[in-house]
Amino acid sequence: MTHATLEASMAADRVRMKDGPPAGSREARALDVTWDDPPGLLGWFCAINHKTIAKRFIVTTLGFFAAGGLIAAVMRMQLSRPENTLVGPDMYNQLFTMHGTTMMFLFAVPVMQAVAIYLVPLMVGSRTVAFPRMNAFAYWIFLFGGLMLYAAFFVNSGPDAGWFAYVPLAGPDYSPGKRVDFWAQMITFTELSGLIEAIVIIATVFKMRAPGMTLNRMPLLVWSNLVTSFMVLFAMPAVMLASTALILDRLVGTHFYNPAEGGDPLLWQHLFWFFGHPEVYLIFIPGLGFLSSVIPTFSRRPIYGYTAMVLSLVATGFLAFGLWVHHMFATNLPELGKAFFTAMSMLIAIPSALQIFCWIATMWTGRLNLKTPMLFVLAFFFILVLGGLTGLMLGAVPLDLQVHDTYFVVAHLHYVLIGGAVFPLFGAFYYWYPKIKGRMMGEALGKASFWLMFIGFNAAFFPMHWLGLHGMPRRVYTYQAGMGWDGMNLLSTLGAFTFAAGVFLSLVNAVASARRGAVAGADPWGAGTLEWSIASPPPPCNFHAIPTVHGRDPLWQPAPGGAPARVSGLAVNVREVLVTSVIDALPDHRMTSPNPSPWPFLTALATTVLFIGSIFTPWAVVWAAIPATIATILWFWPKHKDNSEDLALEKAP
């Protein structure tokens, strides 16, 4: 008997046991063992469970949020009074660049994807994501890319050309040294990670839904992540191309952005904003998904206008691509073009208004329960209305020219980003924390944190409107006394610290509740979506028995009499998943899902060596491609054990 046939016969024995029985049974325990990540330090690097990866991802992005916040605190301290000397102009340039870059590339979009990677499989009733190893790989390169940027910052090579790195300022002539190169490669890293996660999410949503969860029954949060992921596919390539051209200009002497040799700096702006504007919606649309999860639960009724909600999510996704030029009104573009883009900018208010209408209708006709998650969600309405109003103002060309590059814009962008993303995100944390940790977060601390954040936020950013209208330019490291800006700047700084205190309280709350919070149970809020049907925290395999779905809120609409309530017949000792059809989620085939592996980690390491090397010499791309290729091949090369599992379960179509 050869080794392979022996393995195969053992595997055949192991796959004979099938799932389906309730939690606590022998099969259920076996499933947990099968789907768990390997133990030990080595196992840590091999982990591919989507919940493990997502938790690491969430913690990492929140770490970057804290770093970006600390930088903001330093900036606000510097600006708290005129002619301050806490940091000089050079440091300040690095600070606002690092702040913007961190918040946009290392926090806002990745945190939304990280949450999606945790929640989407649970909400669609799947045991895992479609490509678990890719998912792990995406996390590692994101981590390495972010760390690289901060490492550069600490050795005084932090980028200083703004988070949009406009050329020619960011080009080889005006930004010598390696600062912008670190920035450009960090972009490639995070966008690579974002693109992979988008594919993982799309394939999971399309192919891994529980039987019966037709597209028409999919939770709105899943819809919002689907729309976002599609946007990522078409938006992020633009910035990757732009930043690759930038580093080529700097490193090998190409001339994309060099007007002296036929290049054009405006090409940068077009490519950058073709990504940069949808970027805002990449942050905002998942935020809408959080609202659509929290509001029905705390209104105790299904969402009002499901179909309208889905359509407006999709419409927002499309319209977001038609808007980039409004970031370029101050450039020399044709007038007709500007008029068109003004109209587009106004148009996008329509689907958002529709959503707001549906949420209000849901709350109006439901019975409102004002717990912490709901407070954070309600803040969204207040803040976003203000941010939306100033956005409409900026969408009009004459006013944009007036306040261009003043603090009015800084105020607007924080109203939109923090109101549209950070407050809903915090609401989401309070809402899903019990699912992740098995314990509730404290209500009293939660409310205190909310009010500090809400009041602090408005105190920090509302005065900036006023400052902008009174002429204070953005990206200045200080200002003279006697301009009349002192009081508002001090107020803004105090507000920023109040906001930070609020964030800190939530952190304390999360850490304390992990051990001492009230035990949550499976469904502490009485919610209707699938993730609440399983234990908190969820077992490694998510669902001991894959559910079948019979309505939009499966827990509020159980299976009608006689209809099957769950799936059975998947292997217990092998990672086997059910693949369903795209539109109707009809069972299509069974598939083995990959086992844990160190190769995603090692491939990410090799990729990092390649990218860091390429900051210094183009030859790094050639030499470091060798280990990266070898690692990728080993990653994909099937092991005999996996192969025998596959063979044992095999059934040709």
Binding site: L233, M236, A245, L248, E261, V579, R590, W637
Partner: protein
């Protein structure tokens, strides 16, 4: 996969999926969606690079800038070779979907010969661009377009090589046939995206009748 292994399934109404196949081709497979996602991303990159080409062209008085247009010979030859490669590619794809091992081995190997052929001709293409990447913006974008496409050629060639070796050495199972089918699907994209890039690089730099 006997249903007898799941006695519970009959007593309390479950949806027994143990009889389903363990792999399927085309849009049934998550792999197909993953590949399509890659194609969407890379197609966007190509489209934006081509848009950048015309953006630069629009803003320039002369085009190509201080250079001769690329020689047509090697690029056109490569286009012909690529179109020719569609035949073994399609044969490998349909062989994989019939689970026909000898035919997959044969046609995948033939496709691989084609792939190495292009890479050889590709070297000549770079040499016949008549401009360096650092001469001017025209040179930069032309090299980038050709470079981007070459990256795809190289990665797909490595991919095909690995698959081909795997089909001779094993271990094999049904899912590997799906991989071949996806690899061929992706190859269609590599060829399909070449056609507009070819037109842009070689004909976009020639005067157009106005």
């Amino acid at each position: 996969m006997t249903t007898a292994a799941t006695p519970a399934s009959r007593s309390d109404a479950t949806l027994d999926v143990s009889g389903l196949p363990s792999f399927r081709f085309s849009h049934h497979s998550p792999m197909w969606w993953g590949t399509l996602g890659m194609i969407a991303i890379e197609g966007t990159v190509f489209a934006l690079a081509i848009a950048s080409y015309f953006y630069l062209r629009m803003h320039s008085n002369t085009w190509p800038m201080f250079a001769l247009p690329p020689d047509l010979f090697w690029g056109t030859l490569n286009t012909a070779v690529m179109l020719g490669s569609l035949v073994p590619n399609q044969l490998a794809k349909s062989a994989s979907e019939r689970l026909d091992l000898p035919a997959v081995r044969l046609w995948l190997s033939v496709a691989l010969v084609f792939a190495f052929l292009f890479l050889g001709v590709r070297v000549m293409e770079f040499a016949s661009l008549n401009v360096r990447w650092d001469s001017n913006a025209y040179g930069s974008i032309v090299w980038t377009l050709l470079g981007l496409h070459t990256t795809h050629l190289i990665t797909d060639t490595i991919d095909t090589t690995v698959l081909d070796v795997l089909f001779f050495t094993g271990p094999l199972d049904g899912r590997r046939f799906v991989d071949v089918s996806e690899n061929c699907f992706y190859w269609y994209f590599v060829v399909g995206s070449w056609l507009p890039i070819y037109l842009v690089i070689y004909w976009g730099a020639r005067p157009w009748p106005s």
